[in-house]
């Protein structure tokens, strides 16, 4: 418990350790810690930013999805419209074709009827001539009575 020269040696030792600490320990440690603090702060800021970006992206995606949905609806509408149009067209075409065919058939029928009538008329004329000649027992001059005969044919 005597006060002795240990005082001086201990003091020198303390100075040396403090100097070491000041020179070799404190600066690198504090530098590293400050750098890490900065990096952590940066990381946190980046994660905040990323979160915001993610939200924005989500919003954009939602918009795009709804847009696409609308477009799809539109396309469907158009398709069904086109579908009905085509149906309509086909119906119209079919109706037209039918009418055309019916008309052709009718025309043919009429033609045949006319032909038949002409033939009949011709036969009737000759028959009438034959009949008349038979009745008159006299050869009717076809040339001389042409006017009369035509009149007769037209009346039939």
């Amino acid at each position: 418990m005597n006060i002795n020269a240990t005082l001086i040696l201990q003091s020198i030792a303390m100075m040396i350790f403090v100097w070491f600490c000041m020179k070799f320990i404190w600066p690198p440690l504090l530098k590293a810690m400050d750098e890490r603090r900065e990096r952590v702060a940066e990381g946190l800021a980046a994660s905040d930013l990323a979160e915001k970006e993610l939200e924005a992206a989500k919003a954009t995606a939602g918009e795009q999805i709804s847009e696409a949905r609308d477009k799809a609806g539109e396309i469907l509408d158009q398709a069904s419209q086109r579908h009905s149009q085509i149906l309509e067209q086909a119906k119209e075409d079919a109706t037209g074709e039918r009418q055309r065919q019916v008309a052709a058939a009718e025309a043919e029928i009429a033609l045949s009827a006319n032909q038949a009538r002409e033939e009949l008329r011709a036969s009737v004329a000759s028959l009438a001539v034959i009949g008349a000649s038979k009745i008159l027992e006299k050869e009717v001059d076809e040339e001389a009575h042409r006017e009369l005969l035509d009149k007769l044919i037209a009346e039939i």
């Binding site: 020269a5 005082l7 201990q10 303390m14 600490c21």
Partner: protein, 345 residues
């Protein structure tokens, strides 16, 4: 007691434990180790407490190696656990300095860190059971060994005086010689006129000098007193509860004779602490711990040892607070004193 084979009384045991290993000039003019307290006393000022300096330097180097190993590899990446521990301490000191010291100084923070960790390590030596290192020293032929440097008033006072020199250095550096003198003489009694200043010059100087000198003395003696008292209690626990004290050690005495050798105590203490440590690490269940402790107690031979270990353990837990707190107080007061030295009043 435990440290010797010769018959020692409790007061001799305590005296032995409180004696530094002093190197100095003997009365006959030769240099050497003091072999008794009176011998050391006779050596006067120009002698050295070898154990104090040795342990202080060893622990200081321990501090340097521990922190330097981290500082060298320090980077801003993910820290290892050890690096994190060191950084927590550095951060803690840095915060304390920033809170108390309102100047810019590249010197105060490293000073505070060194003082805190170094004093903490020196105080921590107190938790090593009091007989271990002195016994080892005795075995290798060193008569005295006081392993806690901060229980030597020389160590604590030298640190306090170094801080005191820094206080004066910074006071003069920041405020100039005249500023420092006017600070010493211009308060606490302030006067406007020349006559008033002359009248108050001496009382002020007296009061301020006392206040200034009180700083290193209180700083050094506070640390010394706390640690010295703590060490003394450890020694007293060892005296009261360990070997040779009557009926309690009867069982052991029948095996070893009247004096139980120190290595036995060291072994026993080590095994008990190992058990407790394993238990704390979770390697042993509570039931097994209790069982093992009981067996160890029985082997060691009695309630005396049980009482001694419990007392020792309890005081060590309490002392852990003292150890940390005193290191912190020393650091904090150093910062505050130097902060005052930097400020103009």
């Amino acid at each position: 007691m435990a440290s010797g084979t010769e018959n020692v009384t409790p007061s001799e045991y305590i005296g032995h434990h409180l004696q530094n290993l002093t190197f100095g000039q003997h009365a006959d003019g030769s240099w050497g180790i003091a072999h008794s307290a009176a011998d050391a006393q006779a050596m006067g000022f120009w002698s050295f407490n070898v154990d104090t300096i040795f342990w202080a330097v060893v622990l200081g180097i321990g501090f340097y190696v521990m922190f330097r190993s981290v500082a060298k590899k320090a980077n801003s990446g993910v820290p290892t656990r050890f690096q994190a521990l060191v950084e927590i301490i550095v951060e803690f000191v840095d915060t304390s300095v920033r809170e108390s010291f309102h100047g810019t100084s590249k010197f105060i923070a490293p000073l505070a860190l060194t003082l805190f960790v170094w004093i903490f390590f020196m105080n921590l030596m107190d938790l090593i059971p009091v007989d271990w290192l002195p016994w080892v020293a005795t075995q290798v032929g060193v008569p005295y060994q006081k392993v806690v440097p901060t229980t030597d008033v020389n160590a604590t006072m030298s640190m306090a005086i170094t801080v005191f020199i820094m206080i004066i250095f910074f006071s003069i550096k920041i405020k100039g010689v005249s500023g420092f003198i006017s600070e010493l003489t211009g308060q606490p009694f302030a006067a406007k006129g020349t006559l008033g200043k002359a009248v108050f010059f001496l009382p002020n100087l007296l009061l301020e000098t006392v206040a200034l000198l009180a700083k290193p003395i209180s700083l050094g003696l506070r640390l010394f007193g706390n640690l010295y008292a703590g060490e003394l209690i450890f020694i007293l626990i060892a005296v009261v509860f360990t070997a040779g004290s009557g009926v309690f050690a009867a069982g052991l005495s029948s095996v070893f004779g009247e004096h139980v050798p120190a290595w036995f105590w060291i072994l026993a203490t080590a095994s008990v602490f190992a058990t407790l440590w394993l238990s704390m690490k979770g390697a042993l269940s509570n039931k097994r711990t209790v069982l093992l402790l009981a067996i160890e107690m029985l082997l060691v031979g009695g309630l005396a040892f049980l009482g001694g270990q419990l007392m020792h353990f309890g005081w060590a837990v309490f002392h852990l607070l003292v150890v940390t707190l005193q290191a912190f107080i020393f650091m904090m007061l150093t910062i505050v004193y130097l902060s005052m030295a930097h400020e103009h009043h």
